[in-house]
């Protein structure tokens, strides 16, 4: 009786010892398929990469790999190119993430205020760009941004403005961010919209009856209830932004003057153009450490409030 109640209270768990081990083992069977894939295609390569980063293996030379300990790491930290690439990535993250989140939220709030029967239409419109592959999206925006014959400067010409979208080292990354907003804001819009639609309307009604205006309702009801969704979106966005590569590669190829050569592109070139595998692995691990640090800091920051 007691045993039955206890097992009922904890489904999947059990109190008696001998069956426990059997249950645990068979429980691991559920985990096994994933663990095999995870081990072979994630953990193993990860450890390999870590090991590789401690060696000097430049596939160029006919000399075999040589252990150099932290040599690659110190080279990276002392390399102007590494810091410049890291700077480019950073600039992208700092510009793209807040703008994407804010714009996504703004659009979602806007759509939510629209009569329900038309909401799906607008949602589809903002999401459509996300379905375009990076090659095509990059090509299109490269055209738009061209100083001489691009669409944007053609539209601004009557005002006498000619923006050096891709030719100025300060502007180039901004242009990439603008393209990224168009290309990726659809995701957050859809997610935020779902989150907004989940908030029971009687919360808003009750608050309105209490005399709260739109802005107050937004601040004190909407935002707090959106918090978990926001946390998730922000974190995933930051993690992804640190790994940006496709857009910069397609639109600017890292130029002008390497101002948009993000870290991932630099790592890729180091590994596959210059064949310096150990060095590339070390830089990848530095990037990992950075992302991990950022994510943990964010989780702590956003959860505390």
């Amino acid at each position: 009786m007691g045993v039955a109640t206890e097992s009922a209270a904890e489904p999947g768990g059990t109190r008696s010892l001998a069956p426990a081990r059997g249950r645990a083992l068979s429980g691991y069977l559920y985990l096994l398929p994933y663990l095999i894939l995870f081990g072979v295609f994630l953990v193993l390569p990860l450890l390999y990469g870590l090991g590789l980063s401690l060696f000097r293996w430049d596939m160029l030379s006919t000399v075999p790999a040589r252990f150099i300990g932290t040599g690659n790491y110190s080279e990276a930290l002392g390399s102007a190119y590494f810091w410049k690439a890291l700077g480019a990535t950073f600039r992208f993250v700092v510009m793209a993430v807040p703008l994407t989140i804010l714009l996504g939220l703004l659009i979602a709030v806007g759509i939510e205020a629209v009569p329900v029967r038309r909401q799906a239409l607008y949602r589809a419109a903002y999401f459509l760009p996300t379905l375009i592959t990076v090659t095509v999206a990059g090509l299109l925006w490269r055209w738009f941004f061209n100083s001489e014959f691009g669409l944007f400067n053609a539209l601004l010409a009557p005002l006498g403005i000619k923006v050096p979208w891709l030719t100025d080292t300060a502007w180039a990354m901004r242009s990439v961010v603008i393209m990224t907003l168009w290309w990726t804001v659809g995701g957050p819009v859809v997610i935020f919209l779902a989150g907004l639609q989940q908030i029971p309307s009687h919360y808003h009604e009750a608050a309105a009856l209490d005399g709260a205006n739109g802005w107050q309702r937004f601040r004190h009801i909407t935002l707090p209830l959106l918090r978990p969704v926001m946390v998730f979106v922000v974190i995933m966005n930051v993690i992804g932004a640190f790994q940006v590569f496709g857009q910069t590669f397609m639109i600017t190829q890292g130029g002008p003057e390497l101002s948009t050569r993000v870290l991932v592109q630099y790592i890729y070139e180091t590994a596959f153009n210059n064949y310096r595998m150990g060095y590339a692995a070390a830089m990848s691990w530095l990037l990992f450490a950075l992302i991990a640090g950022f994510s943990l800091a964010q989780v702590r920051l956003l959860r505390e409030r």
Binding site: R142, I191, N237, G255, Y275
Partner: protein
């Protein structure tokens, strides 16, 4: 990137949502699911890898199809990727025993691959019973595929830089023929550059491919890049600085060329807004699509004291370690490509077989013939194993100087120092 698969959509810094077409799509691909490659009974299958994308890719594909039709006992499978990825995959494949039987290399990369022992020397095959006449190749091109006394590939073509010019703009400016030397070149550019009030700019010249354009001028000034033994980089040689200064002056002093757009500068020529451009023969296919453009081709004017022009070649290489029937089949294929390089030329290339260039068919290709006149003095990039890093430094220096972020001397000084650091690093590994 797998990362996008594991963290879907993350590569762009975002998650995305989409359709459930997978339900509908399930049936279709199951029918079309890639099956195993059928290998013929007594057929030798050869894998031929190259970086020819775009119209070049189609041209080569058709040539291979004809070979397969004429040689039923050999089946050549063509695989093509863009050049950047191509080299990465080729080298990695070679390292792990998956190199294809026949593949294309740029002459500038032969050194690296030969030293890594990936290539089968072709001297015996050339001089053998079914060989080729090595004297039919241009001597300087044939020399480029030589490493440590042996030749490691059969040159297929030489893609030279040349001057494309807009005939209509030339006529309007009253210029009879394309300029051939410095004074005439500058004079022409001045007459061709116009900035009519309220109308579109017209430029005499535009820098399209920064490295090949400026490298050509540097070579014409006679500058050196490395010491004889390649022990030290001397890119900041005074003559290189002067050459780079000339290019900078075209933009800033003479104002006959616009500041470099990081991309798509070539489109200005296609639009008819630019009168001349230095570009490779491989642009011909793109030009021919512009049906409204009246263009011509001529050798690059000699701006410096020496004649020189940037070039590179596509070389057909054989994987090391082949023998017997496979080697014979591969050689037969390579020989076919070389003998039929006029078909390749028709797609916008220049063959390196002197005998083929003397045919009427080649003479009927005006642009190719004009560019081919420069073959005796083509200048390849310096042969170093760290060729990509060298080119990166050179390109960065050129870009900085042309954009005005640094003086030619400063830019080349920085590049030289960086390349010397690379040399030091490389020598430590030996």
């Amino acid at each position: 990137m797998r990362s996008a698969a594991r963290h879907p959509g993350r590569e762009r810094g975002e998650m995305s949502v989409s359709r459930r077409a997978f339900l509908t799509g399930l049936a279709l691909p199951a029918l079309l699911a890639p099956g195993c490659r059928r290998s013929g009974s007594r057929q030798t299958t050869l894998r031929f890898w190259n970086g020819f994308t775009g119209p070049d890719g189609i041209t080569m594909l058709r040539i291979v199809r004809r070979f397969n039709a004429q040689n039923p006992d050999v089946n050549v499978l063509v695989q093509r990727t863009d050049w950047a990825t191509y080299y990465n995959k080729l080298f990695v494949a070679g390292l792990f025993g998956r190199a294809p039987e026949v593949f294309v290399l740029h002459a500038s990369n032969i050194l690296r691959f030969a030293r890594a022992r990936f290539l089968h020397p072709v001297d015996d095959l050339i001089s053998g019973p079914d060989g080729l006449d090595s004297h039919d190749f241009d001597a300087n091109v044939w020399q480029e595929v030589e490493v440590d006394g042996r030749h490691y590939g059969v040159p297929l073509d030489v893609h030279i830089l040349g001057m494309y010019f807009n005939r209509q703009l030339f006529r309007q400016a009253g210029i009879q023929s394309p300029p051939a030397e410095r004074a005439g070149f500058l004079e022409a550019l001045r007459r061709l550059t116009r900035h009519p009030a309220g109308g579109p700019d017209q430029w005499g010249f535009v820098f399209t491919n920064l490295s090949s354009n400026v490298y050509t001028v540097m070579r014409q000034y006679g500058g050196a890049f490395f010491t004889e033994d390649f022990g030290r980089c001397v890119m900041n040689d005074a003559r290189n600085v002067a050459a780079l200064q000339f290019c900078v002056d075209l933009i800033r002093r003479e104002r006959v060329a616009p500041p470099p757009e990081s991309f798509d500068a070539w489109v200005g020529f296609l639009q008819g807004k630019v009168a001349t451009a230095f570009e490779g023969i491989y642009m011909l296919a793109d030009l021919q699509k512009q049906t409204e453009l009246d263009f011509g081709g001529a050798p690059v004017p000699q701006i410096g004291p020496e004649p020189a022009v940037w070039a590179n070649s596509h070389t057909l290489c054989l994987r090391a370690g082949m023998s017997g029937a496979e080697l014979q089949a591969a050689w037969r294929f390579v020989r076919y490509l070389s003998n039929n390089s006029l078909d390749w030329a028709a797609g916008g290339q220049i063959p390196v077989r002197k005998s083929l260039r003397q045919t009427a068919r080649f003479h009927a290709m005006p642009i190719q013939s004009a560019f081919a006149r420069q073959i005796p003095y083509v200048s390849y990039l310096p042969r170093v194993t760290f060729t990509f890093e060298f080119q990166d430094e050179l390109n960065t220096a050129i870009e900085k100087a042309l954009r005005g972020s640094a003086s030619p001397q400063q830019a080349l000084d920085t590049a030289t120092a960086n390349v010397n650091a690379v040399i030091a690093r490389e020598s430590k590994s030996v």
